[in-house]
Assembly symmetry: D2
Homo-oligomer: 101 residues x 4
């Protein structure tokens, strides 16, 4: 999304946004996201049993991960949709449906 | 993307895909992504100086992170685009442009 | 442990072992460690119900995390035991026993 | 360290400390640790050029990672020192010195 780049540019943060640093920031945010879930029982982590506040916190952590993911993809000119489709194809070959049950 | 859910459903993996577990899988993949960069000098992590093979590996790690991120958002009915816009607004208030230089 | 430094020195890897890179390597290994647990139900993650092979894999991931943790602490001259005691004291003030139940 | 278990026991937190949850907590703390380094240039991440405050923050993050690592090892009865020695031996076979230069 263009807003993410605009936000960084307006603050002159582009100099810090090497792919290496963005990957670090991404895993840091992913760590904050996983921390939201760490003491929950599996059933407590479902949408039905989650408080509104908790869900809001998680939404904003998901946003943080997404922003660094898109920024990293942008810097490396990765077409994320194509990359996901490629990876799904690879996974389909690695885990064929017939072999599973 | 609907293919991600279809892939999991076809393999009866939906039972494992609690939000908690998906968050764990996401951070695990983010760890693999950051590992691609860990020994690179900052300038070696740029698109210009990266080998095709390295870039391909990174693309597929980005795909892995994306898939779990979308899957998690889907399970929690998070509208990622809206969440990102909300977070950018929050960040704009936290880091106003005037205050920076 | 002195063997960890010796291993890196013998391979001329010390040049890569900046604190920044070691922190990245650490979180990457922590990601591999968490991946060992991601599809397990809580009760399946206990020692009693874990296969020997699984436990062995986890042990070696714990070793990887430990090695980068010790290496990072070494590079920054952090006394880990003292740091842990300091952090426990901080936590005791933040979460006094009386306040909990 | 026995203080770590005592701290958790006194707060009745042992019930949350399944190996799975501890692995999540560990990677979350590793994410906070890596976040301390994410915008630093490699040379800024060295001990010599780091501020006292920054170093203190890092020390306490190292402590957090260590506490969950020790707690996890304790729960799974992993002898960390032996695991590290085993892993170094494996690495020595995988990366023999002669093959490197």
């Amino acid at each position: 999304m263009v807003e993410i780049a605009a936000f960084a540019d307006a603050r002159d943060w582009d100099q810090f946004h090497t792919p290496k640093n963005l990957a670090m920031a991404l895993v840091g945010e992913a760590g904050e996201l996983v921390a939201e879930f760490q003491w929950l029982k599996p059933e407590e982590s479902s949408l039905a049993s989650m408080s509104k506040d908790k869900l809001r916190d998680i939404e904003l952590e998901i946003a943080d991960v997404t922003m660094y993911l898109l920024r990293l993809a942008d810097k490396l000119e990765v077409d994320i949709v194509r990359a996901v489709r490629d990876k799904i194809e690879i996974n389909e070959r690695r885990f064929p449906i017939d072999s599973i049950d």
